[in-house]
């Protein structure tokens, strides 16, 4: 029930925030912040009170009993569709990330939303609720529902409060994810239909559909349906073109949520669904996926290097960093998968912070063009220092979370594919190049004429220090996160290996 509660709290909170606008202009943001904190503390408190969390035991994908939590109640019995939620270590990490970044997003848009504030905070909370649903839903149709529905509030956030090119960006974002989502829907229904024809029962439950036997060819196509939907969201080359537009045009809170959380749903989907549901097809496809990932790392970095728009540069750097996640997932060993999970968390914080800085700059300078910046450190030293921290975090400075993540991924990938490891490692160098360029162009150099710029205030410094602390902890002592993810990854590897063995025995 806890999982259902945290989703419902956000949904109801959204309604409250919308209604509260009638009372006072500033009421919605306070309510939204309160709701997210209530949700976060409620969740953490409940977890704490459960005490023995069983975190160290391998969580087999097939055994809901070994998961941390499992909840199911019927929804559309005619098709065996249930409201089935479950949580393992991976979901736990993602839920925590979502709620923390949710609070960050509200703080990031504390002052820059001028119209319809109630509706804005409502959309923000509803997006968070949808994302939580994605991370917790274990009924494939329920998962699809959250996957699609969370786009609608996100669409409104870009379309109503976005910047000058918002109409185009919002539309592109929605169509890319919807169209790929339809492919996934066809895959889900085909999978359920195959399961129905063999077992005689309709079910969309993840636990029932795992290990469904099917022909190699069918598995390949179905896997592609899922894969495309997830890598569009990730995004990986060549499906990334919606991302720079959406991120650049979204309001600050929207960019924070998009980059920090929404992209992670794609990576989560790959780990949670594509690999376990179609282990052999994914194995066969791994080399292509690794190639896509490595290419994405370089390609994103090169494009980032060529940008003059602050937000666009950060957006392309996301393409590059998410390429590492794809590499980590398809390298298919414990090290690389650990790295991918770590990258999801660390990139969430570092990019969210960079987008928040971009938003703060835009609010002060009314431009995102780096050619009109320069020398800002002298006028806003606090912001400069903070930006420096997150930029070196993003380029992978040892001691911070991103380094641990990328190092683990490369280490794992080295066992799988040495040539691609070499190629991807180049991404670290290019990453350093564009990151330092970003710093140099905006905060160093000759001072442009910007009078009376406000430095970061207490609210911004507090938000930033939370994320700095998170990245430092992740970088210096990553073991807790690795420990939480380990049982999930072990379970996944054990499951997919055993399944492959079984299939090998059957095929001849």
């Amino acid at each position: 029930m806890l999982m259902l509660h945290i989703i419902v709290i956000l949904l109801v909170g959204g309604l409250l925030a919308m209604a509260s606008q009638k009372i006072h202009q500033n009421a919605p943001r306070w309510i939204a912040l309160t709701v997210v904190f209530v949700d976060l503390f409620y969740f953490a408190g409940q977890l704490w009170s459960m005490g023995d969390l069983n975190l160290w035991q391998a969580q087999l994908p097939t055994e809901p009993g070994t998961w941390l939590m499992h909840y199911s109640s019927p929804w559309i019995p005619a098709f065996g569709i249930n409201i089935e939620l479950a949580m393992d270590g991976l979901s736990l990490l993602m839920v925590l990330l979502t709620l923390v970044l949710g609070a960050v997003a509200i703080s990031a848009s504390w002052t820059d939303i001028k119209i319809h504030r109630g509706f804005f905070e409502a959309n923000l909370l509803w997006t968070l609720a949808g994302v939580l649903g994605v991370f917790l839903a274990m009924d494939l149709l329920l998962f699809f529902l959250f996957w699609e529905v969370m786009l609608i509030p996100m669409y409104f956030m870009i379309a109503i409060w976005g910047h000058e090119g918002r109409a185009y960006a919002a539309m592109k974002f929605f169509i890319f994810t919807q169209a790929s989502g339809l492919l996934m829907l066809v895959s889900i229904l085909t999978l359920a239909s195959i399961h129905h024809s063999t077992s005689g029962q309709w079910s969309f439950s993840y636990f029932d559909l795992l290990g469904t036997a099917m022909e190699e060819q069918t598995a390949h196509w179905l896997m592609l349906g899922f894969f495309i939907a997830f890598v569009v969201k990730l995004p990986a080359f060549p499906f990334h073109t919606w991302l720079p537009d959406a991120h650049t045009q979204a309001p600050t809170a929207g960019s924070v949520i998009l980059a920090g959380i929404l992209l992670k749903t794609g990576a989560y989907g790959l780990i949670r669904f594509t690999l376990p549901l179609f282990p052999e097809a994914s194995h066969a496809f791994a080399s292509t996926a690794i190639w896509l990932g490595a290419f994405g790392v370089i390609y994103g970095a090169v494009l980032a290097f060529g940008q003059t728009d602050f937000k666009r540069l950060v957006a392309y750097s996301s393409v590059s960093h998410m390429g590492f996640v794809l590499l980590g997932v398809y390298a298919w060993n414990a090290l690389a998968l650990q790295g991918a999970v770590m990258q999801m968390v660390a990139h969430g914080f570092s990019t969210a912070a960079l987008f928040m800085i971009a938003g703060a700059l835009q609010e002060r300078l009314h431009t995102r063009d780096m050619r009109k910046m320069g020398g800002l450190w002298q006028q806003m030293p606090r912001m400069g220092a903070v930006a420096m921290f997150f930029i070196v975090a993003s380029l992978g400075l040892p001691g911070l979370g991103n380094f641990v993540a990328e190092f683990l991924i490369l280490l794992g990938l080295f066992q799988a594919d040495r040539a691609m490891t070499a190629l991807a490692a180049l991404g670290l160098i290019t990453g350093a190049a564009y990151s330092l360029l970003l710093m140099q162009r905006s905060f160093h150099g000759s001072v442009q004429q910007h009078a009376g710029l406000l430095d970061f205030g207490p609210r911004e410094m507090l938000t930033m220090s939370v994320m700095m602390l998170a990245l430092i902890v992740l970088g210096v002592y990553p073991q807790p996160v690795l420990n939480i993810a380990a049982p999930v990854i072990d379970g996944l590897l054990v499951f997919s290996a055993s399944d492959a063995v079984v299939a090998l025995e059957v095929t001849p």
């Binding site: 929804w75 559309i76 019995p77 005619a78 098709f79 119209i115 319809h116 149709l141 699809f144 529902l145 699609e148 529905v149 609608i152 669409y155 409104f156 379309a159 109503i160 109409a167 919002a170 539309m171 929605f174 169509i175 919807q178 169209a179 339809l182 492919l183 829907l185 066809v186 229904l189 085909t190 239909s193």
Partner: protein, 483 residues
């Protein structure tokens, strides 16, 4: 015919009595409000009669088969008529001085639709279709001083008449081949007739496909649709889009299933081509439209393309065919009702009809901040038509994709995915324009139509029905599988 059979025909009888009352009323005291009231009460009683007749469902003579399926859609059609009547109250405010005839025509058309839905014989099918159609021509032309609606009515009249002629020729050929006019009779004899004289059956099927294709506005018989949708008064467009198309599709699926049309590979191939063409052409042309009524007309072309997938898959799907088709059709009807109800409410009739602000989209700009309930209803209706989860349209699409997968119709499913992806663009564009915050153009807009509380209630009810069908479909699914 015995008395139990009369009870089964209760909805038609109630509707007919209402028509008689309307005629009597016209001869005693001419008043639009009284006519409005009689029509409304008559429709509500007929709605009740549909529920009542379920207890007496049976074959009534050779012409009409009263069953749950037919009664369900009779009920839906009557609901659509009720919505039309509610909307007509305000939209005919100042135009013309003979408004009460409109309600008479509407009732006649509803009778035709109900008979069409329940027919089990080619004669009653044709009778119902013509009764519905003839009344509809006059309804389209109703604001009689408006050129656009006259043009639309004449276009519809001419093309509809030729379609009926083709249909009639098709029926004649079928009769020549089999000597039967009832659906089941044709189904029993057509297979042997096909072996002895294939040319007759092929010709008949081609004619029938063309006739129905016109009425359902499937590509390439769709040319009339956008002009008629645009030219007709919005409540009539709503009626045409839901009642007329819904009834014809139910009649076509009955004929298709009972006469076992699925056994002819040639017809299935033709239907597949028509379906793919409808999905692609409908959605692509909808992209180019600025007028929301034209846009919805093209999107309806695509929707009937999606629906054809169920019929094409019917052999593999078996008993689920009616469930799948019914759910999709019901979802389509409810969503279309919601969409047109909002359009009729917020876009002034003069605006969407005659040319001076031909976009219609202007009137929708910033609607979220002016009339939130209407905007929300239109958004949800459009999202439902686009097939987004939690709305009725998603469960409908779920059924269609399922049917397509069962029959392995990958090409058709591919067209459906592409079509749906395209459709999101034009539906979203409307939602985007409603969410615009800088309504600088509002200065040049004509004054907004008068607001009534009842309009928001109507939009709210339709909005909730779309959401209820989509988020809690179990009771409806159970009802449908019981059919």
């Amino acid at each position: 015919m015995n008395s139990a059979q009369l009870l089964a025909l209760m909805p038609v009888i109630v509707l007919t009595i209402t028509v008689l009352l309307l005629m009597l009323q016209a001869s005693v005291k001419r008043s639009a409000s009284v006519a409005w009231l009689i029509t409304g009460v008559g429709l509500l009683v007929a709605l009740w009669a549909c529920g009542f007749a379920r207890g007496h469902a049976q074959q009534v003579t050779v012409l009409i088969n009263v069953d749950d399926w037919g009664l369900l859609f009779s009920g839906l059609i009557i609901i659509a008529a009720v919505v039309t009547v509610i909307l007509s109250r305000h939209s005919f405010g100042e135009q013309g001085d003979r408004r009460e005839e409109f309600y008479l025509l509407l009732m006649l058309s509803v009778i035709g639709a109900v008979i069409l839905i329940q027919s089990s014989h080619l004669a009653s099918l044709l009778l119902g279709m013509e009764l519905m159609g003839v009344a509809l021509y006059a309804m389209i032309a109703f604001p009689e001083r408006d050129q656009n609606s006259l043009e639309a009515a004449i276009k519809y009249l001419l093309l509809s008449a030729s379609a009926s002629a083709m249909l009639l020729l098709g029926f004649a050929l079928l009769y020549a081949a089999t000597g039967e006019l009832s659906y089941s009779g044709i189904g029993a004899k057509a297979a042997s007739a096909y072996t002895t004289n294939p040319a007759l059956i092929v010709g008949a099927l081609a004619m029938i496909l063309a006739g129905f294709g016109f009425k359902l506005s499937l590509v390439p018989f769709h040319m009339w649709t956008p002009d008629v949708y645009q030219g007709a008064p919005t409540p009539v467009t709503l009626f045409l889009a839901t009642v007329s198309k819904g009834a014809v599709f139910v009649a076509f699926s009955r004929l298709f299933i009972e006469a076992n049309f699925a056994q002819y590979p040639g017809l299935m191939l033709a239907l597949s081509v028509v379906a793919i063409a409808s999905m692609l052409v409908g959605n692509l042309l909808a992209l180019l439209q600025d007028n929301i009524k034209r846009l919805l007309s093209y999107s309806s072309i695509a929707h009937f393309g999606y629906l054809l997938i169920v019929l094409i898959a019917s052999q593999a799907v078996g008993s689920m065919t009616t469930t799948a088709a019914s759910f999709y059709l019901a979802a389509y009807i409810v969503s279309t009702l919601a969409a047109f109800a909002v359009i009729a409410t917020v876009i002034p009739e003069t605006d969407s009809n005659s040319g001076h602000s031909d976009s219609g989209a202007d009137a929708l700009e910033g609607l979220f901040w002016r009339r939130p309930i209407q905007a929300l209803a239109l958004s949800v209706a459009l999202l439902s038509l686009a097939g987004i989860p939690l709305t009725a349209g998603f469960i409908g699409k779920f059924y269609i994709i399922n049917a397509g997968i069962d029959a392995s119709l990958w090409l058709l499913l591919g067209a459906l995915v592409i079509g749906s992806a395209i459709s999101i663009y034009y539906y979203l564009r409307i939602i985007f324009s409603m969410s615009k915050t800088d309504t600088t153009t509002s200065a040049v807009q004509p004054p907004a139509p008068q607001q009534f509380f009842s309009q928001d209630v109507l939009a709210g009810v339709l909005l909730l029905s779309v959401l209820a069908l989509g988020s809690w479909p179990q009771p409806f699914i159970v009802f449908l599988t019981g059919i």
